[in-house]
């Protein structure tokens, strides 16, 4: 089983992208940073007690599924949309959603377009990779308008084209749009349109059939989310781990019950996972939050209690 292999190996092989600002990127020292990366580190901390015991394997859109299927990586934590066919036909198991994204449009303000429905006849730069082309085709078809697609491999090239006016609009996941815009010379000259034309639940996935391993990844992610919901932060983690009044926090951090044992891990697995970089909210703020150059708002990714979609099943 994967868990045994990982333990025997002593490192977790985690598939990431070759780079998406804020989500996964090696910094100037070659250390991987980012929102997706944090999930890998949390799993590594839970399983191997060491957040750095991760071997990051960069994958492209084409290679990610084979890498996972052939066992080259233990889990894939990159912007991969959870779809029916990937789950069922390609025989993978999505273990949750760490970012609710959606495909959006960005256009220069002086184009005078306010809604994507006014884009009849426009040239659209698409960053290929996930389901972008399909969503786009569906959207324009559904609205009975035409467009000129310009598929582009990397964000940098898309920005080149977009800024030179080689396309009128630029579409990709809204998170990436926001990140790119924040780094334009004049961010205010561009608008992101209100329409979000697709649901892009992005989350980690593992191979079909190894449910123990899938559970570990799923509940590690849930632990991060629940921690935020319950107010467990890196600041108060040690204090709470000693025991608290909230039974759910106690179950989460292993002072009550034996949830860790059920996963085949030890009792304080979740404490370690949260200890890496804090809870979901902290990870978000640190990597892609509004204080970073990426500057994303929580939006859909707020806790359900704050009107978002983040809703972890209970630890019980």
């Amino acid at each position: 089983a994967t868990l045994d292999e990982v333990k025997a190996r002593g490192t977790l092989n985690c598939g990431v992208t070759t780079g998406v600002p804020g989500f996964a990127e090696p910094d100037a020292n070659g250390v991987w940073q980012g929102f997706d990366v944090a999930v890998c580190r949390a799993v590594a901390a839970a399983v191997l007690s060491d957040p750095n015991a991760v071997e990051f394997v960069p994958t492209t859109g084409k290679t990610r599924f084979t890498a996972l299927a052939s066992g080259e990586i233990d889990m894939l934590a990159r912007n991969t949309t959870w779809t029916f066919s990937r789950d069922v036909d390609l025989k993978f198991e999505f273990t949750g959603v760490n970012y609710y994204d959606g495909q959006g449009f960005m256009a220069p303000k002086d184009l005078g377009v306010t809604s994507a429905k006014e884009l009849d006849g426009a040239t659209v730069c698409i960053q290929t990779g996930t389901t972008t082309e399909l969503n786009l085709a569906d959207f324009f078809r559904a609205n009975g308008i035409s467009y000129e697609p310009v598929p582009i491999e990397t964000g940098a090239e898309a920005v080149q084209q977009y800024n030179a006016g080689a396309c009128d609009v630029y579409t990709t996941d809204a998170s990436a749009l926001a990140a790119q815009r924040a780094n334009f010379e004049d961010p205010a000259a561009h608008v992101i349109m209100p329409e979000i034309i697709s649901k892009e639940p992005l989350g980690p996935l593992v191979r079909h059939g190894d449910n123990e391993w899938a559970d570990i990844v799923r509940w590690t992610l849930n632990a991060l989310i629940t921690a935020e919901e319950l107010g467990v932060t890196s600041a108060n983690l040690n204090e709470l781990a000693a025991g608290s009044d909230n039974p759910e926090i106690n179950r989460l951090l292993g002072t009550e019950g034996d949830l860790g044992g059920m996963l085949g891990l030890d009792a304080d697995w979740a404490e370690r996972a949260i200890g890496v970089a804090g809870n979901y909210g902290e990870i978000f703020e640190k990597n892609i939050g509004e204080s970073t150059p990426i500057g994303l708002a929580r939006g859909l990714n707020a806790q359900w209690t704050d009107g978002g979609l983040l809703y972890s099943p209970p630890f019980r």
């Binding site: 859109g61 084409k62 599924f65 084979t66 299927a69 052939s70 990937r86 036909d89 390609l90 025989k91 184009l111 884009l119 009849d120 006849g121 426009a122 040239t123 730069c125 290929t128 990779g129 996930t130 389901t131 082309e133 399909l134 786009l136 085709a137 569906d138 324009f140 078809r141 467009y147 000129e148 697609p149 310009v150 598929p151 582009i152 491999e153 090239e157 080149q160 084209q161 030179a164 006016g165 080689a166 396309c167 009128d168 079909h208 059939g209």
Partner: protein, 409 residues
């Protein structure tokens, strides 16, 4: 003497011994080939067995059923009818045609660039020959992928975007009396609209093209029969344009042009040549042109000085020496490497996705692979396609080589 002795005899009635399999020249090669055959089969067994086992383990199967399913994505250049409801198979065909289009255009242009640069490199104008050397060296020694990226980016940044044509104080304007628009999304050309009687104009045009060939033949015949030199170049040009234009005028302009114009976001009407096509085309052409220039130069230099001198001593003028003596011989040297360069263009066009041109690697080997996850199937198809193209090109090259072989003893 047609006796039996005129036929070779092969009978040999030595008794067969096992060691003859190794030591006898007649059996030895059979033995080796048999061993090789067994080795190949064993290798196939190893590879095939692993493949089957791995696929079963991953729960995958090899199936081409996805080719019939709707692709769900759009393609910006569609030589045949296609939309997002068409099948993956059709998308593959569109990509395939796109590959062939860009490869063909790039081959033609690369040849032109290459021949010009190769000849100019031998020019006695110092600055020009140095400039050409510079061109050749700089393009040959940097990977084509980098060139494609750089050239594409230069083009989209240098050419105006459709936005620049808009408004009263437009920064850019169309060329040739507002008939051609050059933008960084592509070039928009006027498109002929066929009215009544346009067939006549076309027919006249076709006839005048035939006429040019006839005229050239006539000129040659004049020279050969009567030793009269008839000028060819200007009459040909005249013949090409004048009759068709006259008919067009006489029939009251049956063929009209529909000009591209800025409507909404883009130019519409007319013929569009996509920017990504132009960029890839140009990048491949200029990159390969550098290699062809080298071949051309080498080919011309391979013709010994003696040939030129002999022709000069016979009183031939330099341009005739070139066309009658040097070029026919140089072509034999130039064409085989030229064809390999064509092959290279076809193969390098698989980098099209770097500029967003949807060739077969972009459709079948790109989005289709991405959407369906059918990596093995799509890659096998891709390989089969490229292999067919290169084998065809190699085949023509061999035919050519055999035909052009110098007669020797």
């Amino acid at each position: 003497m047609t006796t039996l002795a005129d036929q070779p005899v092969t009978a040999s009635n030595e008794s067969f011994k096992l060691s003859m399999l190794l030591n006898d020249t007649r059996y030895r090669s059979l033995t080796f080939q048999f061993i090789a055959l067994v080795a190949i089969i064993a290798f196939m067994a190893f590879v095939g067995g692993n493949l089957v086992r791995n696929l079963t383990e991953a729960g995958l199967n090899i199936s081409y059923a996805f080719l019939g399913e709707p692709s769900g994505y759009d393609i910006n250049q569609r030589p045949i009818e296609y939309d997002s409801q068409s099948s993956h198979g059709r998308a593959a065909v569109v990509g395939l045609l796109n590959t062939l289009i860009v490869a063909f255009l790039a081959c033609v242009t690369a040849t032109i660039f290459g021949v010009i640069a190769g000849v100019l490199r031998l020019s006695n104008n110092w600055i020009v020959s140095k400039l050409m050397s510079f061109y050749v060296e700089i393009f040959r020694n940097v990977p084509v992928l980098i060139w494609i990226l750089i050239i594409f980016s230069v083009m989209i940044n240098v050419a105006p975007s459709p936005r620049d044509f808009r408004g009263d104080d437009a920064v850019a304007s169309m060329w040739l009396f507002d008939s051609i628009a050059v933008t960084n999304r592509g070039v928009y050309l006027p498109k002929p609209v066929m009215g009544d009687g346009s067939m006549i104009v076309l027919a006249v045009f076709a006839l005048s093209v035939i006429g040019i060939f006839a005229f050239r033949n006539y000129a040659r015949k004049q020279l050969f029969d009567h030793g009269r030199m008839v000028p060819v170049f200007w009459p040909s040009i005249g013949l090409f344009f004048i009759p068709a234009i006259l008919t067009q005028f006489v029939l009251g302009n049956p063929i009209t042009l529909s000009y591209p114009s800025l409507q909404g976001f883009n130019f519409r009407g007319g013929i569009t040549i996509l920017g990504s096509l132009i960029a890839l085309w140009f990048a491949l052409a200029i990159y390969t042109g550098a290699f062809i220039a080298e071949n051309v130069r080498a080919g011309i230099q391979a013709i010994s000085k003696g040939q030129t001198e002999a022709a000069a001593a016979l009183g031939l003028r330099p341009n005739r020496i070139m066309s009658l003596v040097v070029l026919p011989q140089a072509l034999r040297v130039i064409i085989p490497p030229l064809i390999s360069q064509y092959l290279n263009i076809t193969k390098n066009s698989s980098l099209a996705i770097a500029v967003g041109y949807m060739d077969v690697t972009g459709t079948l080997g790109g989005i289709t692979l991405l959407q369906t996850g059918r990596a093995i199937e799509t890659i096998l198809l891709l390989m089969a396609f490229y292999l067919t193209v290169s084998l065809l090109i190699s085949f023509f090259m061999n035919v050519f080589n055999n035909r052009m072989k110098l007669q020797e003893r």
